[in-house]
């Protein structure tokens, strides 16, 4: 190869540097696809979600295309938790590179809405108000902004799912129907341990998976409370919180809690009967998981309303959910909304989505539709969905995740670890956690 013998002048080198920086720093915004004129439904939209909800949405595409010929809908399974990094980066970059429809979890919604307020379309502008009545009030509110803006339509609405091994209860001579409160459940747990050797429930005591607060959130929900109240003040260390964590601690000390550090697969072992565990509390969606993952356990698991915390208290709670939202940066908002409306707000769409993905819906006409509340042979003929509907119909309060849910969750899990592994006092641990959240977020403690 012939190399040049003359050296480039210093000036031309500098010019090259400058040009490169200019390109990078100033940046030329390339011409993107010409925007479809507003008001028209057409073109292509992309949807970001993950596998199971994605299956549901994909199932609705053919029918949607019949209504709007020529429309393309690309449902992408980004994966959970990969999708959060993707959405967050796009939002933090000013709302760039996002899909037209985003599937956002209830635990992320509040944070996105507060930190990136103008980046989700207020769907009232496209007529979402009409749907408000068709969804549970609590779920609708959790997807709304402080002034009633509708930032997402509920896709999944999960009630708490309480499951118990009816064969173990029988073996121990117990009848779950007689158990009315958690205190009674714990006593039953002692009997279960003695007669069958099984733990009452399992927990990730070390909190090595971020989401180890499921039981606490259920117990709080059963008392009508949460980490925050409607005004956004911190309530995690209130009387309800202390009672909840106290129950957890009591169960631990009775020796009826199985430690499953880490992960999902440990919980699955319990569902499959490989680990002896008598009850599991999670979301209603777990019923589908049990059927898929533990086919040999057919007939042995029963679904039920959870016990109340205080006699006569609530026996139902909301476990979470997801929403479909439209980012303001979408170039095809009309079509995006049309798809969301079809999939979530029409009975025809909902039937397809439910059949395709099995996500528990919030759309009331769907809940009331024929065949939705069918006996489920896996659970011994129980009408599983009816139980969840009953829960949602109780006077469960709206759950205020706020934008600081992630911080509260982390502080709580640390407190729970201290209680379970080091024997800390629940009230002290919760106060410490609450103060930490207050210090980090500037929120007030409700107890003050």
């Amino acid at each position: 190869m012939k190399f040049p013998t003359t050296t480039p002048s210093r000036r031309s080198v500098m010019t090259a540097f400058a040009a490169a920086s200019a390109v990078a720093l100033v940046g030329c915004s390339t011409s993107k696809n010409p925007a479809t004129s507003t008001g028209e439904i057409g073109g292509k939209i992309t949807v970001w979600t993950w596998n199971a909800p994605g299956d549901g949405l994909k199932a609705a595409i053919p029918a949607f295309q019949k209504l709007h010929p020529g429309v393309e809908v690309d449902v992408q399974d980004v994966g959970n938790p990969a999708i959060w990094d993707k959405i967050t980066t796009g939002m933090a970059a000013g709302g760039n590179g996002l899909a037209d429809v985003l599937n956002i979890g209830i635990d992320y919604m509040g944070n996105y809405v507060e930190k990136f307020p103008k980046q989700l379309v207020d769907l009232r502008d496209v007529g979402a108000d009409k749907l408000a009545e068709q969804f549970p009030a609590g779920a609708w509110k959790s997807g709304s902004g402080p002034k009633g803006q509708v930032y997402g339509i509920p896709y999944e609405v999960n009630a708490a799912g309480f499951f118990y091994r009816n064969d173990m209860f029988k073996e121990a001579g117990l009848d779950y129907e007689n158990i009315k409160t958690w205190d009674e459940l714990l006593e039953a747990g002692v009997t279960l341990k003695a007669k069958t050797g099984s733990a009452l429930f399992s927990m990730d005591k070390a909190g090595s998976v971020g989401d180890s607060a499921g039981l606490y959130e259920l117990l709080m929900g059963l008392q009508g409370s949460f980490y925050f109240n409607a005004a956004g003040e911190i309530t995690m260390n209130g009387a309800e919180g202390v009672r909840a964590l106290g129950l957890i601690k009591k169960a631990n000390e009775l020796g009826i809690v199985d430690d499953v550090p880490g992960s999902w697969d440990n919980m699955l072992a319990g569902l499959r009967g490989e680990r002896k565990v008598a009850t599991t509390a999670s979301g209603g969606w777990l019923s589908g998981v049990i059927e898929n993952e533990a086919p040999k356990m057919a007939g042995k698991w029963s679904v039920s309303l959870p016990p109340a915390v205080t006699p006569g208290g609530l026996t139902g709670a909301v476990n979470g959910g997801t929403y479909l939202s439209v980012p303001s940066s979408s170039k095809n908002q009309q079509t995006a909304w049309a798809f969301i409306n079809f999939a979530l707000g029409t009975l025809e769409g909902q039937k397809l989505v439910y059949a395709g993905g099995g996500m528990f819906p919030g759309f009331k006409p769907m809940l009331e539709s024929e065949g939705f509340v069918a006996p489920n042979p896996f659970f011994g003929g129980q009408k599983v969905n009816q139980i969840f509907i009953d829960e949602l119909n109780q006077d469960t309060p709206a759950v205020n995740y706020t934008s600081d849910y992630a911080r509260a969750l982390k502080s709580y899990v640390d407190a729970q670890t201290r209680v379970l592994l080091k024997g800390a006092d629940p009230k002290a641990a919760l106060d410490e956690a609450a103060n930490q959240v207050a210090q980090q977020t500037g929120r007030k403690l409700a107890s003050n």
Binding site: F3, G27, T30, N51, N80, A82, T89, G97, A269, E274
Partner: protein, 281 residues
């Protein structure tokens, strides 16, 4: 060079001891990989069983087929291959050139520049993710190969590695070449580079690996499943309680194979005996 003087008829037992010790360590190193391979032969529901499986199971084909059905895995492997190979080739050039400049020249601002290089290494990549993403948006490079390849070509690790290996080259060798009439690029290409072939091979592997396993940045930059690289494609298999671990682990295992092959091929390059332009001449 190897320390060839260790071997000798007087101490045959040494070889056995050493081999056994290394073998024991190798078992520890490879055990998780063995478990990975076994896991790919079981159905997702069966993988995490007590006690752990030691022998292969029946579901290899199912997982294989399922992986290709639920993701565009073949396409992703091709994407990863293309991106990683291009990145490695270009990265070798950039890092070796820069390393040479730092190692064998004195110029103004040298220490400052090298210090700045180390500083860029110090800032965690999560902090620069969003602004870098913004650059890609502004350039219109979302979902493109160049977005993946260009930003990290001047890898500080690579430049540092080449600088260190070139620093051991005796200056008289370079001066001799200059005296012989070679211009600077010839000195570089024909005298210096062949001498550091072991380090080049090592760098090639590390560059390839860094690009192959890169996850978060490709995740946010790539927009269509057709252009996903392997880690992004595998992440799409995850859900809440719906992850098919059999497929996920199968994909992981398959994605490790090209690199292991590359390593088997390249490792002969950094072993004594295949040196051209030996240092001591």
């Amino acid at each position: 060079m190897s320390d060839v003087t260790i071997a000798g008829p007087k101490r045959p037992g040494r070889s056995l001891v050493l081999t056994t010790a290394i073998a024991a360590g190798a078992v520890l190193m490879a055990l998780p990989f063995y478990w990975l391979v076994i896991a790919t032969t079981y159905d997702a529901h069966e993988i995490f069983s007590t006690p752990p499986h030691f022998l292969p199971g029946p579901a290899f084909i199912d997982n294989f087929v399922g992986l290709f059905r639920d993701t565009l895995f073949g396409r992703s492997m091709a994407n990863s291959m293309l991106v990683s190979t291009t990145y490695t080739a270009l990265g070798l050039v950039v890092c070796t050139a820069a390393g040479y400049a730092f190692a064998k020249f004195k110029f103004r601002g040298q220490n400052l520049l090298f210090g700045a290089l180390l500083v860029t290494l110090a800032l965690p990549s999560q902090v620069t993710l969003v602004p870098l993403f913004q650059i890609m948006v502004n350039l219109g490079w979302l979902d493109s190969y160049q977005a993946l390849i260009l930003p990290n070509l001047a890898l500080p690790f690579g430049i540092f590695l080449m600088r260190q290996s070139m620093s051991a080259i005796p200056d008289e060798m370079i001066q001799a070449a200059r005296i012989d009439g070679a211009n600077e690029f010839r000195v570089f290409a024909q005298v210096v580079v062949p001498t550091v072939r072991p380090a080049l091979s090592a760098l090639a592997i590390f560059l390839f690996l860094a690009q192959w396993n890169d996850f978060v940045y490709p995740l946010v930059v790539l927009r269509s499943p057709e252009s996903y690289t392997v880690p992004v494609a595998l992440a799409s298999l995850q859900g809440i309680g719906t992850t098919d671990y059999g497929q996920l682990l199968m994909g992981t295992m398959l994605s490790m194979l090209p690199i292991l092959v590359l390593f088997l091929f390249l490792q002969r390059q950094f072993v004594a005996g295949i040196l051209a332009g030996a240092v001591k001449q």
